[in-house]
Structure formats: structure tokens, C-alpha cells
Symmetry: D2
Subunit: 139 residues, 4 copies
């Protein structure tokens, strides 16, 4: 398997299809079955005390796995999340982006599964961990 | 155990502490260990095709359980989500709010667990299901 | 939709297909999209202190949802669990069976989702909660 | 932090405290915040077709994270699983052990979180992925 979309193509796809959230994210790295996706933290992602909200991190993980799947199968059809689990482990560092390191563990005909480790930019200790399953519509 | 906060007090608390998201939600019903919370769906919650986004439903479930905990323990301290799982089961109906029916299954000294069934307003079939654990800081 | 299998047929199916675990379980109640399944607790399900082990409760939840699906679709094909989440909330009562109250939240063509509340027999407070997704093979 | 228990000490602890399951498992590797744990597959772990059952893999993941925590904090107190999520991704290879590669992502004062990738012995592609949270009792 090789990548069916480039970083630029994924960015253009997001901007066209998900204009509400496309500006939140930037792709740091793309490889086969892997993506690093950055949440460009703005005021709207924050909770009191300056910490990034849980739903913002859920959204980051969801988007990372979605883009990793798209990069592998191409922009055909509408993959949808069927479920996800997330663990919040540490308070994100104030004033830092969150970087999601995502790998696809399974890319089947019908279901794809990915997991994601999220860190505050430049830090080692994960702030959160998530895994999601996507249902891939018949081509 | 009795409720330590009213619907009005919860609303005021949200408006003061979470101004970014307070306007998204309305409390339909509050009882001991239970809350019905409504996501007042706006353009910003939607995905292409007019369906409510997964992260918006995650946020609704998270907020419902948070408010159910606060209603029971009062506005003391800062409960934080430690983890959650969510299943997306059906496409939400276009142009409808999402109503989360939440019950607390456990309200311990340290951890609280709630589960949530989400429906498109007026419908029977659930669009999603979620459960979350909150860590309650020492009083 | 009506039930395609009776309690007796489900029991016979389990005894034939899953002889290792069939004796662990008894069906207390079966209805459309619902089942109450009992874990008949034996020494092998216990942990030190006489409490039922987590994996035994996971197995109970998994089996309850499997049987609820089979009762609806009939003994055709081999549904497999694709994922699950479980919350352990209280220590089970010593010397009591565990009863799982399961409902199917979705029974689609490809995926089924169920959730389960588990109590120590005769008690009110749940000891655990679980949800599972089953993949249904093409008929 | 350094390891507070050796492979031998963990094995002796399991044999004494969990005699029902201790023989199921063997520690392949132990390091700081990491463990590789092997499920020595026997007839009782199998489902029809010779595949390892889901609950057996849940049990393996649960035990791996438990031992990784114990190795770090020592055999004091009784850590208990508060929740877990698991994705089953591929059918395990027949006649092979399952090896769980576990890392602790968080080891806090109150909660520990670990994740686990499970492979059929000698294979590359994961058969399952799990994460669990343990509650650590006050020392």
C-alpha cells in the first residue's frame, strides 16, 4: 500500500469539506499508516485555567485518525466514526499546541482502527490517549 | 443525598466558568443522579450533510455528566474527566437538537461514573451512547 | 422484528458451540432487543477476597450482548466482538451471582451495539457497566 | 523511578495471590514502565475454530497492566481496575501464544493508565489493543 493523498491534498480536502474545523489543525508529518496532527490551540479550545478542553482533544484524535485513513484509501466515500475511547492523563501545558501522534492499527475493507498519543508540543509525557474505529463505506 | 444545586444555579455556574460553551446547552430536566441536557444545535456543530459532529456529541455527554456531578456535590472543586467511551450509532436527524439523557451510576468520594443516551429531539432511537469517569478532587 | 430463537434454543446453541463457558451462564429473561443473563459464580471466577474477577464480568457482558444479537438474527453466521468498554464501579457482593441486564441499542445490517448493567443478584447498585460492538457477517 | 520487583518476585506474587490464573501467563520482558506478558494458550482460552477468546485477551491486557504497575510501586495494597477499553482487530493465529506489549502511560498517586498491543507470537500485525485504568489505594 502506498499513500493515496499528499499533505497538501488532505489540507485542501479538509478546507473544502470541514470548513468549521480545518483551521484548527495542521499536519506535521504524514507516512504510511501514520500521521502527526497539530491542534493549533486558540482561545476557543480552552477551559478555565488555560487548559485545552477534553472535547478539543477528542476532536483532534478523531480528525487525526480520519486523515490517516483518507491518506491511505483516498478521498472516496464518507468514513464515519463508530466509536472511540479516550483517557485524559495530564493537564496540558498552558500556551502550547497539542500534537497527536497517530498510527493505524487496522485498515480493513469495512473497519479501520487507529490509536493516538497526544502531547503538549515539545513535551514527552502524554496528556491523553485515544483510539477510534471508523466504518468505511463500500467503495 | 439531595440536590445541592438548582437548574438556575447550574446555568449561572456554566455561564461564569465555561463561557465558550455555556450557550450550547440547556437543561431540560434535573433530578437526583439524573439530568437531561440539550445541545442547541447551531451551524458550528454540523458536518457536511447537516449532521451533528461527533466531537459535539462527545462534548454534550461530557457536559451532562459534569453537571449531574456538580448538582450532587455542589460547585466546590474542579472535577475533571479521566476517561470516556462513546458509540455513534445513527445519523442524527437534520435540524433537530440532540438531547442527552444522563444518569450517574456511581458517585464515590474520588470517582464518579455516568452514562448517557443521546437522541435527536423527539425521536426514540439513540444516535449515540457514552460513558465517562470524573475524578473528584479532595474537598 | 420478532425473536428468532427461544431461551431453550439459545441454551442449546451455547452448549454446542461454546462448551467451555456455557455452564457459566443462565438466561433469566429474554425479550425483544433485551436479555438478562446470570453469571453463576464459581470458585474459578473469583479473586482474592471472594470478589468476582474483572475478566469474568467482561465475559458476562460479552456473552449477554452476543446472545441478544443471536436471539434477534438467528443462529446464522459468526458475529464477532469488534470492541468493548467496561467500567468497574463497586466490589461485587461475596457469594452472589452477577446478573447482567442487557439491551441492544442498535441492530444494523453490519454492526450491533449493546449495553449492559451488572448487579450482584438481588442488589440495586450496579457493580459494572459495559458496552460492546459486534460485527455481523454478511448473511 | 526504578523497578521495585523482579520478574521472579512478580511471578511468586501472582502464584500466591491469583492461583486461578497465574499459570496462564509468563513474563517475557520487564523494564521501567513496560512489560511483555505472554498468554500461554490452552484449550480453555479457545473459541470454536481454534481462535483465542475475547475475554482471554481482556484478561491478558488487564494482567499485563496490573503487573507493570506492581513492578513500579511494589506489592503494597490492592490496585483495582476501574475501567478498560479493548479493540479486537484480527483473528489470532491458531496454535500460537498471544504476547501483550504493555507500557504505562501514567503512574500517578491515585490512578495509573496503561496501554497494550497484542500480537500472535512471532507475528507483526496486532490482534487486539487495550487500555486500562487502575485505581491505586492510598499507601
Amino acid at each position: 500500500m502506498t499513500l493515496k493523498m499528499t499533505v497538501e491534498e488532505l489540507g485542501a480536502f479538509m478546507a473544502a469539506e470541514f470548513p468549521q474545523v480545518a483551521a484548527d489543525f495542521a499536519i506535521d508529518r504524514l507516512a504510511q499508516m501514520e500521521i502527526d496532527l497539530r491542534l493549533q490551540v486558540e482561545e476557543r479550545h480552552l477551559r478555565p485555567g488555560g487548559t485545552v478542553s477534553g472535547p478539543s482533544m477528542f476532536s483532534l484524535a478523531d480528525c487525526a485518525i480520519y486523515l490517516a485513513v483518507l491518506a491511505m484509501i483516498g478521498p472516496q466515500g464518507l468514513a464515519v466514526t463508530t466509536n472511540g475511547s479516550i483517557d485524559f492523563m495530564r493537564k496540558p501545558a498552558a500556551g502550547k499546541d497539542i500534537v497527536a501522534k497517530c498510527r493505524l492499527l487496522k485498515l480493513g475493507r469495512v473497519l479501520a482502527v487507529g490509536d493516538v498519543l497526544m502531547v503538549s508540543d515539545g513535551m514527552d509525557q502524554p496528556v491523553a490517549r485515544a483510539s477510534m474505529t471508523y466504518s468505511i463505506p463500500p467503495g
